[in-house]
């Protein structure tokens, strides 16, 4: 790793990791082991097998399902979206995807209870639609604004040339 003269090299060991790495491994795995033992000690409350299944399952669902889906969606966006609109469309899709994921249990109303109507009192499907319309409206406005400013930029050289001939004489 190159350094500028006068500045000390970064303390590195073991393929670019700092000297803190191995101490952090000791501390980190000690903390994790203590937590795992606590989790197992309270097994009646934590149900370790089911918990472990959810823990690993979320990892696998993300790596083997969610991320590949995003990759495929990205390919479609590149192929179907005009180049200039690609950025705002990707941003709106990012927001949409996260909103759909997070709002799902609210929209489905899984937690609603007849004995307690103060839980999940809103119309979440309607609310989600309103938010998504807002997100995509902003995306469209950005695309339109970008197109407008590019069109103005193309006209500007002839306008400034004409303006130069009309500059007031002092």
């Amino acid at each position: 790793m190159s350094t500028t003269s006068g500045s000390p090299p970064a303390p590195v060991e073991d393929h670019g990791r700092s000297r803190l790495f191995w101490p952090s491994v000791v501390v980190g795995w000690s903390v994790m082991t203590w937590a795992l033992l606590g989790l197992l000690r309270q097994h009646r409350d934590t149900n370790p097998v089911a918990l472990g299944r959810l823990f690993l399952g979320l990892n696998l669902v993300h790596d083997l399902l969610l991320a590949p889906l995003v990759l495929v969606a990205g390919v479609f966006v590149r192929r179907l979206t005009p180049r200039r609109a690609r950025g705002p469309v990707q941003a709106a899709l990012l927001c949409t995807g996260v909103l759909l994921l997070v709002s799902e249990p609210f929209v489905r109303g899984y937690g609603r209870r007849r004995a307690n109507p103060s839980i999940l009192p809103n119309n979440y499907g309607h609310g989600l639609v309103v938010v998504l319309v807002g997100v995509w409206t902003v995306a469209m406005l950005i695309i339109a604004g970008d197109a407008l400013s590019r069109r103005r930029g193309r006209r500007r050289p002839s306008r400034s040339g004409a303006a130069a001939t009309h500059q007031p004489v002092s």
């Binding site: 993300h62 990012l94 996260v98």
Partner: protein, 397 residues
């Protein structure tokens, strides 16, 4: 032996197809500096979430050394609101970070040496823990317990420590890489038009989109607690003024199976334990005692909170009648017999506070059955689950 294994694995790499080939991922968003910035931001939100979560856990399961003050009355409102908000904002941050570093999942060979192996293996509890915490936190505030065949608070607590332990290792592993990534300034050098050419979003645009998504989530899911923003909180699990007497309910009288006992004319409040003068009171006698009013918030562990006006009998007055000073530790028992929160413990700091009371009225009306009729405990600066409803007994310890 290690070198031979590494060499064999390298030769076995699929050469023409699949995610393990070199340059399989072409998006400029798979960028070291972007990973670093997202990582630092996640570090801040997760640390905030962890610290505020520990406070909430300490309140509910206090170790012997833990002291939580009665003032300011809104402190827990702030810490728990921050806990849920920082968790929600972490969702787009975490998904974005995992996207940015996704090509590394397919690194070939998967384990280069012992150090690399330890670092990679330590990522399993980090990613799994982070996803677990955000998933269980979200389904918990949605009151959807089916995906969690375990007791949420206990599991959430232990996995938080697993995640933090793994985070410590990850920070140390990436410290040098992060420093050099930040020093290089490729994002500063990137002009506004770059990145939109073939791939779309620039790196700055991507960060903006992630930040905006976090903002939208925070506003629509947690904005209900802040009065001018509550109309925008269309995805919030509660409306903070929606419910009997303009206050949401967590556990109704029907769910607690106390409807008959709470309305029984034979109801008595019992004050007993380490007292010189144990006694009982009917509801009428309780109402005849000097009343005290206070504006105190109800703060749910799910993050929402709202202010309310309470009127009732200060607990210290009830203890004085039993011949006990105001610094006693008291077990507050509910008519509810099943359930984790059928009782709570009042420590001395809260017992002596003038505003800690058995409330008989809420917002100018006799207490609703679902809010704890005939009386409920209300204390400054404590979690809603500890504000015991349908109180039947005060046991001085």
């Amino acid at each position: 032996m290690v070198r031979a294994t590494r060499s064999t694995l390298s030769r076995l790499r699929p050469s023409s197809v699949g995610p393990v080939i070199e340059d399989a991922f072409t998006s400029p968003l798979h960028d070291e500096r972007l990973a670093t910035v997202l990582g630092i931001t996640l570090g801040v939100t997760f640390t905030t979430c962890f610290a505020t979560g520990l406070i909430s856990h300490g309140l509910q399961h206090p170790p012997s050394w833990f002291r939580w003050p009665a003032r300011p009355v809104n402190l827990y409102r702030v810490t728990q609101g921050l806990h849920v908000a920082s968790g929600i904002v972490s969702i787009p941050l975490l998904l974005a970070k995992l996207w940015v570093v996704y090509p590394r999942f397919w690194t070939w060979p998967p384990l280069r040496d012992v150090t690399h192996a330890v670092e990679r293996i330590s990522l399993i509890p980090l990613v799994g823990g982070a996803l677990f915490q955000l998933f269980t936190g979200t389904v918990n505030i949605a009151y959807w317990y089916r995906p969690m065949p375990f007791f949420f608070t206990v599991a959430h607590f232990w996995v938080a420590w697993i995640t933090i332990g793994a985070l410590l290792i990850h920070i140390a592993a990436k410290l040098t890489t992060a420093r050099s990534a930040l020093a290089n300034h490729p994002m500063a050098a990137e002009s506004p038009g770059q990145g939109r050419e073939d791939h779309g979003l620039s790196r700055r645009g991507f960060m903006g989109a992630v930040a905006a998504t976090g903002g939208v989530l925070a506003l629509t899911m947690t904005g209900d607690t802040i009065a001018p923003l509550d109309r925008l909180a269309v995805l919030a699990p509660r409306r903070v003024r929606h419910g009997p007497q303009h206050l949401p309910v967590n556990r109704s009288a029907t769910e607690a199976d106390v409807v008959a006992r709470a309305q029984d004319p034979g109801y008595r409040l019992v004050v007993e334990g380490r007292v010189s003068n144990p006694y009982t009171l009917t509801l009428r006698e309780l109402r005849a005692m000097p009343q005290h009013s206070a504006g105190l918030p109800i703060t749910c562990v799910e993050g929402w909170s709202t202010a309310a006006r309470w009127r009732g009998v200060p607990v210290r007055d009830l203890l004085a009648r039993a011949g006990v000073g105001p610094h006693a530790r008291v077990r507050v028992q509910s008519l509810e017999t099943n359930g984790t929160y059928a009782h709570s413990i009042l420590d001395a700091l809260h017992t002596e506070d003038r505003d800690t009371m058995l409330a008989l009225e809420l917002n100018g009306e006799p207490l609703d059955l679902d809010h704890g009729f005939p009386c409920r405990l209300i204390t400054p600066n404590r979690a809603g689950v500890l504000q015991t409803k349908w109180v039947s007994r005060l046991v001085v310890q």
